[in-house]
Symmetry: C2
Subunit: 204 residues, 2 copies
DNA sequence: TCTATGCTCAAACGATCGTTTGATACGCGT
DNA sequence: ACGCGTATCAAACGATCGTTTGAGCATAGA
């Protein structure tokens, strides 16, 4: 039993998440990660095999839950659900994750990095494991935009996903008004994002 | 006189621009840069002083022109100019740069990296040298959105700049329809971006 | 012609990278 | 009490990083 309430693997994942978000995948070294986690340097390769596999595991730990919540929220929508409802099903789980105590905010910033970095190995890993989630949401949005042709929808979805990813990544950084609490703050942010995205998708 | 039509400094900047865009600032080494540029390794430190200064020079070379064009386009607008006109003054120079032959597309992708990377030195460099451009555009947009209070405008501008940066970075990657030429393609992209951003900024 | 200056070059510097090794300690079933 | 996987440890591996060095070459001014 380790002296910490968390296992060595979890402590590595937590430290890696925060350092990857702050310094990037190349910028954060395994020595920084293990030192911050309070574990031995060799334990990364022992538990994960390589740095690349560690990166993948950082994504998998959060995305399995996050995308599961997204699909659940999407499945619970009725046929009468609006465009805003679909967007909310996509955004809300991510925003709640970014509020979470243990590194959730860091992970959302890592997601934005994954969008910018064009690392082939990471991109194919994400596409292979979670590409179907994006496809399902794209289909749900397309149903609510019957007048929009495929080509046009493709453009706008690309802009929307980029805008949402960027916005969610910087969500934690934006200073909130002092007179409202955390819960109200998140509701405000989500309303802004949904409003903005829906307006862009719907505009003639 | 070098054997190449371009000077050593320019060849380094060109190679660095492309490699930084593809592999990131940490991911691209000076050996890769100088090898790609066909110059000696030591010439980077000779001409620029350090890798960090080289990065700053990559930004300065493009941003001096790009932001100058943006301010020119903004200054040429009349008082009756619409919200879309202001957005177009901001977007058009960047999109034209991304079409340029020598590395323009790579630079726009670097811009997106600068948004995600929270490197303190780079951020303060950009803020010190080009922060006033964003402020001027924010003021011009605020004039066209009189019913929007400051707090609300602040939210939306943050989303817009992120979305535009991301979209412009990926602009070159999106495969265009085969039956339209490059000029029409750019006009289409700009219309989409402007439409999308204006709708989000204006929506009630 | 001699000198000074700007530039390029191969080579090496110390530091840090991801990874591997071999020894050591722990816990559990027999 | 013993043996056997599991896990942690300090130490070292070769590779690569940004940077520096000092010699060598060219061109321009005196």
């Amino acid at each position: 039993m380790p002296p910490s309430p968390f296992s060595t693997k979890e402590r590595i994942l937590d430290a890696a998440e925060e350092l990857f978000a702050r310094r990037g995948f190349d910028g954060a070294s395994l020595r920084q990660v293990t030192s911050s986690a309070g574990v031995n340097l060799a334990s990364v390769n022992y538990h994960f095999g390589s740095k690349e596999k560690l990166i993948e595991e950082v994504f998998r730990r959060r995305l399995d839950i996050l995308n599961g919540q997204r699909l659940d929220a999407l499945a619970q929508l009725s046929a009468q659900a609006t465009l805003e409802d679909v967007l909310m099903a996509f955004i809300q789980p991510a925003l709640e994750l970014s509020r979470e105590s243990r590194g959730g905010g860091a992970f959302v910033r890592i997601l934005a990095r994954a969008y910018v970095e064009h690392d082939e190995q990471l991109r194919s890993f994400l596409s292979d494991n979670y590409g179907d989630v994006l496809k399902r949401f794209a289909a749900a949005l397309a149903e609510r935009l019957p007048t929009l042709d495929k080509q046009e929808l493709y453009w706008r979805l690309d802009i929307v996903t980029g805008a949402l990813t960027y916005a969610m990544a910087n969500f934690g950084i934006i200073r909130r008004q002092a007179d409202i609490n955390e819960e109200q703050h998140m509701q405000q942010v989500m309303q802004h994002l949904v409003h903005f995205a829906a307006a862009g998708l719907r505009s003639a």
